[in-house]
């Protein structure tokens, strides 16, 4: 017979069972909590970010990301902003992106000078700055650079009326923190600016003139210092020249100048950037380029199409059919850092007149040249060898004389390189563009800045700065909504009356049905 359990032992058994169940549940909870903690720890250390914003308004430019991933040593950024700073939150948010993109090589410390007085004093003594607030200090390999708040934003000064009404504070117009920080980082990591000489004396645009202002500012942000050079006044291209630019000469170079260029190219493994002026007769320059395998053609890249014109009689704008002489270009995938991924297939018009370039592919074997065409003419354009004077007269493609598209507008060439890119050898590099107005302010507006991006990447390739591949950071312009009163009223009615009202109606209907 089985032993009977006594009434006294039953509560004890139940208690033990409850204790076991409780312990079991506790263990399950602890294990689950442990797993959750572990998963989150791993997620904290190893994560991925996807940028789904089309124009990457707050994400970093591809050039900044390239620079950050190529950092050889860590960078420390100390943000010394007071809590009341207008751009403080933007700077902090931007620096978070720098940290994420650099894989922990870029670290930030945020110091509020009013709340962390001790730390502020330590930093002030270390970096030797006074009572400045609202600065960012970049520290790299024992060197440091200050970036002021005023460098990171454009302010609009108040007009007299606003000042009379007591609104004396300048208004924030645009935040350009990324431009300022990336530019400072470039200076720090490279140590000294890259000197590029701009050849003068042949009717080139004024280097310090207004027309090249945007280009000059763009170069300054790339840590490139540009200086004029008259080849007739020197015995050779200066030793500190990292590259030489020839920008749309109206008159030909002399034989001596060509010789100096040639010496720079051959002996010093030179880097040369040439923008051709299709109107000019620069035979010696063209012959030198032909020797390197790039021949400028005697044509103008045009197409027939509609263009905007002003009616002489009425003064009103009208669309006319005629010759479109502003060549459209398409950025090609060159497979090199000249054309970063985010620029490939970009297509914009070029200001002024453009001539095409033809390549002598035999130089690839005879002279160890490598050609990289990176801008081609857009669809519908051809090389017209008999250009018409007036845009209103449409040009026609003559298959016997004219050059069929797509045509090369810009070509890069490298002499002495090897096929294996892992092997770095000293080479000479050349970039030739069949348009002389690529760098001007008006070209910048016409091409929405793409022309400058192309020129900067081509220059950086010339200077062996392939770690800077990408579109340079752009200033973030503020945009204003401009809704009329009627639009605002309609919006208010829709979102505050119609939508909630519809739900209220559904509720009433439900209540009425239940009552029925």
């Amino acid at each position: 017979m089985a032993p009977k359990s006594s009434p006294d032992s039953q509560p004890k058994v139940v208690t033990i069972q409850r204790f076991q169940i409780g312990l079991n549940v506790l263990i399950q909870l602890l294990v689950f909590a442990g797993i959750v903690a572990m998963v989150n720890y791993l997620s904290f250390r190893h994560f991925k970010r996807w940028d789904l914003s089309r124009d990457q308004k707050y994400a970093l430019s591809s050039q900044t990301r390239s620079l950050l991933t190529s950092l050889k040593k860590p960078v420390k950024a100390v943000v010394f902003f007071s809590g009341g700073s207008e751009i403080g939150p933007d700077v902090n948010a931007l620096l978070r992106e720098y940290e994420f993109a650099s894989d922990k090589k870029f670290n930030t410390e945020i110091v509020d000078p009013y709340r962390s007085f001790t730390r502020a004093s330590e930093l002030s003594a270390k970096y030797k700055f006074g009572a400045n607030e609202n600065i960012l200090i970049l520290d790299y390999d024992g060197r440091n650079k200050f970036v002021n708040a005023t460098d990171m934003a454009d302010y609009e000064q108040p007009d007299q009326m606003a000042m009379m009404m007591g609104q004396a504070q300048p208004k924030l117009k645009a935040f350009k923190g990324e431009q300022a920080i990336t530019s400072a980082l470039l200076e720090l990591t490279e140590g000294k600016p890259n000197k590029v000489y701009f050849v003068t004396g042949h009717g080139e645009p004024d280097l310090n003139g207004q027309d090249l202002k945007i280009f000059n500012e763009g170069l300054k942000r790339q840590n490139i210092q540009i200086a004029p050079l008259n080849l007739l006044n020197v015995n050779s291209v200066p030793e500190d020249a990292r590259a030489v630019m020839i920008c749309g000469p109206k008159y030909d170079l002399s034989e001596l100048e060509i010789k100096l260029l040639s010496d720079f190219w051959d002996q010093k493994k030179g880097r040369i950037f040439v923008l051709l002026n299709p109107y000019a007769r620069t035979q010696r320059l063209a012959d030198w380029l032909k020797l390197q395998g790039i021949t400028p053609q005697e044509d103008r890249i045009v197409k027939t199409g509609k263009f905007l014109s002003v009616d002489q009689a009425t003064g009103s704008p009208e669309l006319k059919t005629g010759t479109v002489s502003q060549a459209g270009f398409v950025v090609q995938d060159s497979g090199t850092s000249i054309t970063p991924k985010d620029l490939v297939t970009a297509s914009k018009p070029l200001l002024g007149v453009t001539q095409s370039l033809v390549l002598d592919r035999t130089k690839e074997t005879t002279a160890k040249m490598k050609f990289i065409p990176f801008l081609q003419s857009a669809e519908g354009f051809w090389g017209e060898t008999d250009p018409v004077e007036s845009e209103e007269r449409p040009a026609f493609f003559d298959p016997n004389k004219d050059h069929i598209g797509p045509l090369n507008i810009a070509v890069a060439a490298e002499k002495g390189g090897v096929a294996d890119r892992r092997v770095k050898v000293e080479t000479s590099r050349l970039v030739v563009i069949g348009n002389s107005e690529l760098l001007g302010n008006n070209a910048y507006r016409l091409a929405e800045g793409i022309n400058l991006d192309v020129a900067v990447n081509a220059l950086n390739w010339l200077l062996d700065r392939e770690e800077l591949v990408g579109i340079p950071p752009k200033e973030k312009k503020n945009i204003a909504l401009s809704l009329s009163e009627k639009q605002l009223r309609n919006l208010a009615l829709a979102v505050m009356a119609f939508i909630p009202g519809f739900v209220a109606m559904l509720g009433l209907l439900n209540w009425w049905q239940r009552r029925a």
Binding site: R54, A59, F175
Partner: protein
Amino acid sequence: MKVFFTLLSRELKSFFYSPIAYVVLFYFLFLSGFNFYSQVSVMNGYPTEITVVEAYFMPALFWFPFVLSFPLITMRIYSEEFRMGTFESLTTAPVQDWQVVLAKFFGVLIFYVILWVPSFCSFAIFQSITGRTAANAMGAYWGSYLLLMLMGAFYISIGNLASALTKDQINAATISFTTITLLLFVGFLPDIMNITAPGIKDAFSYISTIQHMQDFSKGLIDSRPIVWYLSMTAFVTFLTFQVFQYRKWKA
């Protein structure tokens, strides 16, 4: 699974039979619409870097109704069963405990999704009236609503847990409101307490809901908040399951 869907449909019906669902929907949509309109009005005529979508998801007018909605929609989930006496019949029915817990969770989640659909319509209405998009890219919409769903799932699980812990709906609402508010503001602790150590700041930033919304509403999708919300939702729902089982066996 058939049982699960039966329970789910029961939960949804119970929501829409009750007048409170319509009251919550009406006031939530009104506040949401007011937030939308006021942000557009403020931005009108003044140059700004942020888009309408970012402006909509950032101010207190968004967070206040957001936080308040969870106690209101979850307080009755279990508490009402206790109050009405239907808890015993639920627990003795031929259904599994996990089916009950998950059906209640997803029932609230579906109602929460219905709560937010009209806000998406607001952006479409804005676009049709003004001819301008409310965001720079579809990524901003995807990011914002993805995060809303993830946060919603987590806070709903907290609300369900609070409801399972007590028979009184007011207590349940108070517990969930307090917990959610604390979680929302924990991301500000480093600034309030002037913590500058990078590791600690990063840890708080990891769980900061407002920081997450700032990124996602720009179209920057980060895997860390996704993992955080999904794992915590699973954990709190597991807790709710354990509490439900305790109540069942205690009854």
